[in-house]
């Protein structure tokens, strides 16, 4: 079941990436890309949520959050 879900979502993500042609984007075309909410990283206001997820769940990483250090494990 787990593997099936992983495969399904893996295919969806790969298809989405592969289906998009990476055409050259000029600087003047980047007004939307440069919007701060288009950022490809987690935002500062999400810090507590990322901490809570990493301390209450067994997995962490690959999201810009910490992968170790300090406890907060109360």
């Amino acid at each position: 079941m787990q593997k099936r879900i992983i495969s399904k979502w893996g295919i969806v993500v790969l298809a989405a990436l592969a289906g998009t042609s990476c055409k050259t984007v000029k600087e003047y075309q980047k007004s939307r890309i440069n919007d701060s909410e288009m950022s490809l990283s987690s935002r500062a206001v999400e810090k507590t949520e990322l901490s809570a997820e990493s301390y209450r769940e067994g997995s962490s990483g690959a999201n810009g959050g910490k992968t170790g250090g300090g406890c907060g494990c109360n």
């Binding site: 787990q2 998009t20 050259t24 890309i33 500062a44 507590t48 809570a52 067994g58 907060g72 494990c73």
Partner: protein, 434 residues
């Protein structure tokens, strides 16, 4: 005459304008800028959790297993920016975080529920980065420290490099090391109380470490306890835990409206990976301390895809697959939809779904047998799913919010629930001053 005067003034202004343009555009006239305070970032948040089956009480579903938590977290970051004589941007960032928590389970480190149930965590950070726009390269190095009253101390170092390519892609490599010392605070029943029962007959001092991690010296006179001393200190024993992480990421602008990223971490942990105040109750009813392997390898890989739909809606999506050497697998899905009410005001509803399998060393309360080598009843390592939803409001007008220097005001609420009966509410606020 009047027209002539206006023309002369107009020509003067045009020339002045043209002159100022040519001055700033001329690279030979480039003047390095010293580091200057560019941004102050304040994040404050409150976390409120209700749960049971605490790890301290070995997953006890009864009243002793209460795991309610509150946490008031505050972080202040100062960013200084300057340009050197090679037109490279230098950024120095200094941060300080202070959290104050209460944890009902912490009281049960002492089996009567009378241990200190709160604590403070302080974590300063310092980093320096340099960006070279002409070469499309950047690097960063930083240091981190964390001290917690009852738990452990952590020291971290990181370094990263990044390189942009000609097709709007960027590759980065980051190395992070955390070097922790864990205070070996055992549940009260595991302290060597025999040393007190067999108190020495002559004058002496016996050191004990209480359940809350405080060490005191008991003074005996002819075998009789005559008092405590504060002049004698003995450190709580500690054990090391090291975490080394190599992070690779690649970001790509795919179109004027879409960009994506792939992020992969390889994490290696070694040392004492359990916590000494986490109990495990065997199927016989006898209790012991959580015991876990001294090594763990984690492999998370995440994908991000952001799309600007029309003029007002942004789709932020994220998926992560995770696997580790303790047999835990997980999948995370995240979707956020910032909706721009005006160019400077947006509302961002979001939803996150997470599910994990259990680590092979996990079993619930009173299920482990004494024959097992490794065992834990910490529900963080159990099989469960969780969901989180909420929304944020962001104001970023060009002239500031209420005052010119407050450039961004953001507030966000999230409700988190696990199938283990853990529920939490979080509210966070971010203020950015320029």
């Amino acid at each position: 005459m009047k027209k002539l005067s206006l023309s002369v003034i107009g020509m003067y202004l045009m020339m002045a304008h043209a002159f100022s343009q040519s001055h700033t555009m001329d690279s030979t006239g480039y003047i390095p800028k010293k580091l200057k305070l560019d941004e102050v970032n304040l994040v404050t948040s409150y976390y409120d959790q209700t749960a049971n089956k605490s790890a301290v009480m070995g997953g006890d579903p009864g009243p002793k297993g209460i795991a309610d938590v509150t946490d008031f977290a505050n972080g202040l970051d100062l960013k200084f920016v300057g340009w050197d004589n090679k037109q490279r941007k230098n950024t120095v960032a200094a941060g300080l975080g202070i959290d104050y928590h209460t944890a009902a389970s912490q009281a049960y480190v002492d089996s009567n529920g009378t241990s200190k149930n709160n604590g403070t965590r302080i974590y300063p950070t310092l980093s320096w980065s340099r960006e070279n726009d002409q070469k499309g390269t950047s690097f960063e190095m930083g240091a981190y420290y964390s001290a917690e009253h009852n738990y452990y101390h952590s020291f971290g170092l990181n370094g990263s490099i990044a390189k942009k390519n000609k097709t709007n892609g960027e590759f980065s490599l980051k190395m992070v090391g955390f070097f922790d010392r864990i205070n070996m605070i055992y549940p009260a029943e595991f302290y060597p109380v025999d040393s007190l029962k067999n108190a020495p007959v002559s004058d002496s001092i016996v050191y004990i470490t209480s359940a809350s991690g405080r060490t005191e010296a008991l003074v005996y006179n002819n075998g009789q306890l005559v008092g405590n001393t504060k002049g004698h200190k003995q450190e709580t024993p500690t054990k090391p835990r090291n975490t080394l992480t190599a992070s690779l990421s690649f970001t790509q602008i795919m179109s004027p409206r879409m960009q994506g990223a792939v992020e992969m971490d390889l994490v290696y942990q070694s040392g004492y990976l359990g916590l000494p105040f986490h109990r495990v109750f065997y199927n016989t009813g006898k209790d012991t301390i959580e015991t876990l392997p001294s090594q763990r390898v984690k492999l998370p890989i995440g994908f991000r895809l952001n799309y600007f739909l029309g003029d007002n809606i942004i789709i932020r999506s994220y998926y992560r697959f995770y696997a580790d050497s303790w047999g835990l697998f997980s999948n995370t899905f995240n979707l956020e939809l910032p909706i721009k009410i005006t160019p400077f005001v947006s509302i961002s509803p979001f939803y996150r779904f997470y599910m994990q399998t259990a680590a092979k060393y996990f079993a619930p309360y009173q299920v482990h047998t004494e024959q097992e080598q490794y065992f834990t009843s910490n529900y963080e390592l159990a099989a469960f799913s969780s969901s989180m939803f909420g929304a944020g409001i962001r104001l970023a007008p060009p002239r500031g919010v209420l005052m010119n220097s407050l450039r961004i005001f953001e507030i966000r609420y999230a409700h988190y629930s696990q199938t283990t009966a853990l529920n939490a509410n979080m509210i966070s606020m971010n203020l950015v001053f320029k």
